[in-house]
């Protein structure tokens, strides 16, 4: 079926967009950036489609060397725009960056599911959910959190943002490489290994804050 990605896009975004009109400001922001994440996934798929014609690499090399760069840049754009133009508050930026990352992952997973409908299983779903889902969220979270610091000083802005993107792209590439190799279970667990310390750190900070109050 042609244009399946756009059909999925319409199916998912219309109810979300309609719901966003009815809810309060804070959850609305999450929903809007979730939708932006979905839009980013569609845009990234188009860009990657063009690049496959321009860069002659096999699927493995392409997904390890090229797609992490395009996807991380595309995901970072709305987060950077939000941080620069709307709000640079740490809590808000973390929420926004996670929403973009998870929105992107949801769209990507849904599209890949429809493309491999004969081969998918519960194990596949668990690996995609815990692996790709969290990986996209973590990469954008990393850029968003780092940007809070990079945006504080003009001198830090350009170089700091590039360095953050480099970190996210390398992380993404390592993940893509591992999940396509014999070490796919190690690859799928990589995002969880990085996710858990962050969760513990955030809970620790929240606990500290509640005690000090």
């Amino acid at each position: 079926m042609e244009n399946l990605i756009y059909i999925l896009f319409v199916c998912i975004t219309i109810p979300l967009a309609l719901m966003a009109c009815l809810i309060d400001k804070k959850p609305r922001r999450i929903v809007i950036f979730f939708i932006i994440g979905i839009c980013s996934a569609v845009f990234a798929s188009e860009v990657n489609g063009i690049l496959t014609y321009l860069i002659p690499l096999d699927v493995f090399d392409f997904t390890v060397r090229v797609t992490p760069i395009t996807e991380e840049i595309i995901k970072a754009i709305p987060v950077l725009f939000f941080a620069k133009e709307i709000s640079n508050k740490k809590e808000t930026l973390i929420t926004v960056s996670l929403a973009v990352g998870i929105g992107f992952a949801v769209m990507e997973n849904t599209y890949i599911l429809t493309q491999n409908i004969e081969y998918v299983s519960m194990l596949w779903a668990i690996m995609r959910g815990f692996g790709t889902g969290i990986m996209h969220g973590m990469c954008t979270f990393l850029v968003g959190t780092g940007f809070v610091f990079a945006n504080k000083n003009k001198k830090l802005f350009v170089v700091g943002t590039f360095a953050l993107l480099s970190l996210a792209i390398t992380y993404h590439s390592v993940f893509n490489m591992l999940v396509q190799s014999d070490l796919r279970y190690v690859g799928a667990s990589l995002p969880i290994v990085t996710y858990v310390p962050f969760v513990l750190l955030i809970y620790k900070n929240r606990k500290k804050r509640s005690v000090s109050k």
């Binding site: 090399d61 390890v64 060397r65 992490p68 760069i69 780092g146 610091f149 504080k152 000083n153 001198k155 830090l156 170089v159 700091g160 590039f162 360095a163 953050l164 480099s166 970190l167 792209i169 390398t170 992380y171 993404h172 590439s173 390592v174 490489m177 591992l178 190799s181 014999d182 070490l183």
Partner: protein, 228 residues
Amino acid sequence: MTALDKVCFYVADIVPFLASLGAFIYGVKHFFEKGKAYYLQIVTMAFGCYAMGSLYYLCQSITAEEVPEGFTAAYLGRIGFFLFLFTANFGQMDGLVDDRTPAFKKFRYIALIAPIAVALLYVPCILSDMLISTKISLVFMWIAAMCSSYYNFKHAVISDLGYGFVKAIRPYNICALILTFTELVLHILWANSDNCGFVIIALVSLVFSVMSVVTILALKRGVEAWKI
């Protein structure tokens, strides 16, 4: 490849990864508390970036039958490493140690020695039989290294304004400079691995690993001295 070469090959991949990861974790533990300077956090992120790039090389060695030439994401890990080091000094520290007066002019010129030396190190890469895409990828890394080395060297030689920053951070800057040159030499050696052999690469990797740990320890020590 002989058994010794294989061992050296994996040592050159694993040890720098573990050392930079150790430096990153140490930095997160000590420098990411509330109220700590961004400078320290940015340097810690540099080691995180390096560890990620090294993890890429390690995974590539384990999973791929042949190591592909040309651009890889690991280069971005290295570029990120140098850019974080550069950002820390340029964005956070330089305004404190150099007040832009003519008195510091000579240090600004002397510091140019480091980027020139870094640029000269690129010559063996040009002469090697690497793919042109690899050489171009390395140019970006070299430029980032030139930027970071300039400020590391400048902050290592500049005289103190009287606040004690420079004196306290000097050992860190010297270590970071050595680290930069070691990393670049490693790239030259990898490019000529057929001639120089993996034993030398493993030894230089070990030097780099030791320097990673020493650098982060020097930074912590410097910060403690700075507070006093």
